[in-house]
Symmetry: C2
Subunit: 306 residues, 2 copies
Amino acid sequence: MHVNFYAGGTLDRTAPLRRDDAHFQALLAEPVTRVVAVWRDRNLIRTDPEPAAIWLTEPAAVAEAVSAARTVALLGRGDGCPYVAVDLSELDDPTVLAGIDRAEDFIGLRDVSAAMNREEAALLAYAKGLMFWHGRHLFCGACGAPTHVEASGHVRRCTNPDCAVQHFPRTDPAVIMLVVQGDRCLLGRNRRFPFKLYSALAGFVEPGESLEEAVIREVLEEAGVHVGGVRYHSSQPWPFPGSIMLGFHAEGISEEIVIEDDELLDAQWFTRDQLSRIDGQDMRLPRSDAIARQLVDAWLRGDVAF
Amino acid sequence: MHVNFYAGGTLDRTAPLRRDDAHFQALLAEPVTRVVAVWRDRNLIRTDPEPAAIWLTEPAAVAEAVSAARTVALLGRGDGCPYVAVDLSELDDPTVLAGIDRAEDFIGLRDVSAAMNREEAALLAYAKGLMFWHGRHLFCGACGAPTHVEASGHVRRCTNPDCAVQHFPRTDPAVIMLVVQGDRCLLGRNRRFPFKLYSALAGFVEPGESLEEAVIREVLEEAGVHVGGVRYHSSQPWPFPGSIMLGFHAEGISEEIVIEDDELLDAQWFTRDQLSRIDGQDMRLPRSDAIARQLVDAWLRGDVAF
């Protein structure tokens, strides 16, 4: 069972307690409670001496943040401390709050996460993903009325009594697959990728298709390559903003690459030998905190056979 | 690679063509186009002599249905025929339309699918799932303004020019896992299940967790059993109304069952011998079109070891 970055934390999500409002209110007043601040697409992180989460813990700071937040959600309990996320996105300047010293301390998690403690990175990713979902569900999609928060921040319900639909947090399943054929694997360079990064192909799962069908469809759409066998490897939470990556190895059963998709600038077959000689100048592989790199490394180690 | 019911069809989703409006309009006028009608949570299905989809194909019927529909979406192309879904939910009586003879022909897919052609069942499930998503996204969750349809029915965009957020079809990943321990497996009876049905435990994946973490968390929450190894088996589209089931076998590493969850009425360890003697009177197992049954059968065959 392969555990990817952003997973494998020890947080107890305490899901059965979420419907107990009194529990949540009491917990906000616990002296050991740690508040995880999210501002727009950023987390509160210190970078010196190395990247680490900044929790709000002082009672005054906690009370101010909870009161200023658009949404407050119970994340769970770890090491004896309750963790609570607050979404401060409606503040133009979050430094008006106690405990938040500099606007620059709100940082894109992906920019620093590779150097972070895995457990903290997982917790910040969870907070960020949940708050993004709230921001996209302030109104009811069925009737347009405002929604309000229930279940300690894990449900939004429509305030229109004739509708009253419950909306649950959304996670978009996406498949990511390393297509292999003998001693070669297929990597693509996405239009949105930074300089010379080649990675595994990926795409969202559509309604009414299995993961395996999504793998086959996406490889054909993006690179024109036909896929036979498909083998699950592992999964990775990827709340950037709201996905889970489902990693596969897939057997390429055709060779010619045809890029018809707008997403890819290039795709090529690479041998193990070529990948072992990459120097970072002409091309780069994904960072080791991305499941894509884990798929490549597993194949390089010889863990994959069709 | 195990292929479950509702998957494995040969439909080409023609995703790269969706942004071409002229293509979609032209296709609606093709004489071989088949319209898949969805009304509220039901599909248009004939049951005599056996369950099969009713397509609208007459040009007049197609035009009427498209014009009356709240949403029209391109499903793809199969056997040379374009397939188009229409959501007729806003009509109180869909039989006012040409080609729809009886309101009773709208049937819950799950009630008859086990006796249907797999390919047709997959197509109807896809149409139903996509239309459910549309009905829940008529308004923008970020700002409350109405949304309109783009990309041949695969995107909804907010009509408020200051927002203009795109909303994409939603599929909720859910894990479903057969916990095994030596010669026994863990099955539960859900409060919502019909009479005496025992099945694998299941639950939705939450933001910021891996599939494997969701398996471990759900088994502990629902049955109080601790899980060690987790092994992926297969996946199944489950648009009832909008899930994909991700099937696992999991190794139970504790024995005592503690039901704290509201969802389960009962959970028990069953031996292979007990399951082989089930007569349908005292308990039932899931139908073979459900991935839960495939997980049980794989274990009964001895395909699973930890």
